[in-house]
């Protein structure tokens, strides 16, 4: 039974020029579940994430949130809807504006929607604590921290609006084992506390098996139960 509480890509088709990347792909992420997405490199996993994150307009099909179809992408999506889906990108280096300190990086989405400043500072402190960033790291800019530390900041930024859906695009691929475990634990805790829907892309089969409630294979679009 399909619950309306889900982020749904319905019969999504994406082509870059004549190269069809996604052809009629349907994927749903329900509230409270963790879905693993796997497939060989170049099969369109990242494109699917960009479509689900409302950052890329599909050439066919549509995305709906809790049963409401989303028209338009990027700036055209109302802010309230846009911030319900957050993305954690593969490369924290690329996903962080090199000019912002980690504090500003985490606070930016709140300031973008004109949240009052005292509340912003409180939320940043709370999230920094959650992801394990010490105060001296928060004043640094991205070039002065490691990939792992930067990805923690990006995770804090992704959670800042308390999104209902979190999409992790190989978010732990560039991290060392302990950071990877910590990031995964923070996401899992958040998912339980917020009853959020999480989509995880990873090539790490062991991590995927532990983490995901069900696994979707994009190459064949075959749904298989985990374990």
């Amino acid at each position: 039974m399909t619950s309306p509480q889900q982020l749904l890509a319905d019969e999504v088709r994406v082509a870059y020029d004549r190269q069809v990347v996604l052809d009629g792909v349907t994927l749903s992420v329900g509230r409270g579940e963790t879905v693993g997405l796997r497939g060989p490199s170049g099969c369109g996993k990242s494109t699917l994430v960009r479509v689900l994150a409302l950052l890329h307009r599909p050439d066919g099909g549509q995305v709906s949130i809790d049963g409401t179809p989303v028209t338009g992408v990027r700036y055209a999506v109302p802010v309230g809807l846009r911030t319900r889906v957050a993305v954690l990108f593969q490369s924290p280096r690329a996903a962080a504006d090199p000019r912002l300190s980690l504090t500003d990086l985490i606070a930016e989405p709140l300031r973008a929607v004109r949240a009052p400043e005292p509340g912003v500072r409180e939320r940043v402190a709370e999230l920094a604590d959650l992801v394990g960033l010490t105060p001296d790291l928060l004043t640094r800019r991205p070039h002065a921290v490691s990939d792992g530390q930067l990805q923690r900041a990006c995770l804090a930024r992704a959670l800042v609006h308390r999104p209902d859906y979190l999409l992790c695009d190989e978010a732990t691929a560039m991290l060392d084992a302990s950071t990877q475990a910590h990031v995964a634990a923070v996401i899992a805790d958040y998912q339980r506390a917020q009853n959020a829907g999480v989509l995880v892309i990873t090539h790490d089969e062991a991590l995927m098996g532990r983490w995901a409630d069900r696994i979707v294979d994009l190459a064949g679009a075959v749904t298989a139960p985990a374990r």
């Binding site: 950052l55 911030t83 504006d97 930016e108 973008a112 490691s146």
Partner: protein, 292 residues
């Protein structure tokens, strides 16, 4: 602790590779300080009557009393070169600024909006770029009366094309960066992304483009004055002086053209050297290696 030490150790080989260029940068800096300082202070410490002539002292070779010699009207060449430099630097700086504002706006609009607006604006830029810009500059001056304003307009209105292209391509490539996606996903609107994430990256490039434009604008002004389209002939400008000295060259008085010519070469070279060094520092690859 360990990664901090590693970070300090890393840039060292690169630094030593850059060191030989430091002498050039220091020299260029000193030249520029002397040139700008001299140009600014000249009216106070060494006033010049622009229309004064001394017909009993024509074409004197450089000496201690006339460091740059005198021209065919007995005017001190070095003295007038300082005032010519004043005009050249003023025209260069203001015209470069005008070109930056126009180019920044056109490139900014094209790069921010993209699509059809971008295509139309860039075709206009291509069309103007296809015309010889000195000819276009002459056309603009010819429509106005010879004056400082006309020269600035002529230079400014013909030199914004490269700035527009730089800003546009910079914005177009920034727009596709992941951190812009992240900002949009976080709820930022167009204005917020532009002000917070795009402009701070473009502005240093824009400032650099302006600086690189100054030598170009100076040369353009000199060319216009040389062709008799710049400032009125009695006013000292480097182009006017080179042009006036042309007649003296045949009589052996090489200094009347060479001194203003040398001033312009040395000063524009100094600006170009400093701007090139600045560009290297801005280059993201070098900057990453230097951990700036």
């Amino acid at each position: 602790m360990a990664d901090l030490a590693a970070r300090r150790a890393l840039p060292r080989p690169l630094r030593s590779r850059l060191r030989p260029r430091r002498a050039g940068v220091v020299t260029a800096g000193l030249v520029l300080i002397v040139a700008v300082g001299g140009a600014l202070l000249a009216p106070i410490v060494w006033p010049l009557d622009q229309s004064a002539v001394a017909l009993d002292q024509t074409r004197l070779a450089p000496s201690w009393s006339h460091l740059g010699g005198t021209d065919d009207l007995g005017r001190d060449v070095a003295h007038r070169a300082v005032y010519g430099l004043r005009v050249s630097l003023l025209v260069g700086a203001v015209a470069a600024l005008v070109a930056t504002v126009i180019g920044g706006l056109i490139g900014g609009i094209a790069g921010t909006l993209g699509g059809r607006v971008d295509r139309v604006l860039m075709r206009i830029v291509d069309t103007i770029a296809a015309l010889p810009h000195l000819l276009l500059g002459i056309f603009i001056v010819a429509m106005l009366r010879p004056s400082l304003g006309a020269v600035i307009a002529s230079v400014g209105l013909t030199h914004w094309l490269s700035t527009a292209r730089i800003v546009r391509s910079e914005l177009l490539s920034l727009r596709t960066r992941t951190f812009v996606d992240a900002a949009i996903s976080g709820g930022a609107g167009r204005g917020r992304v532009l002000v917070r994430h795009l402009l701070p990256h473009v502005l240093p490039r824009l400032a650099l483009a302006t600086t690189l434009m100054i030598p170009h604008a100076v040369w353009h002004e000199t060319a216009l004055s040389f062709l008799g389209l710049g400032l009125p002939p009695h006013l000292a400008s480097l182009g006017n002086m080179i042009s006036d000295g042309e007649g003296s060259l045949l009589t052996g008085a090489w200094w009347a053209s060479l001194v203003p010519g040398a001033v312009i070469v040395v000063v524009t070279l100094a600006i170009a050297v400093l701007a090139a060094r600045w560009r290297d520092r801005l280059d993201p690859r070098v900057r990453a290696e230097l951990q700036l």
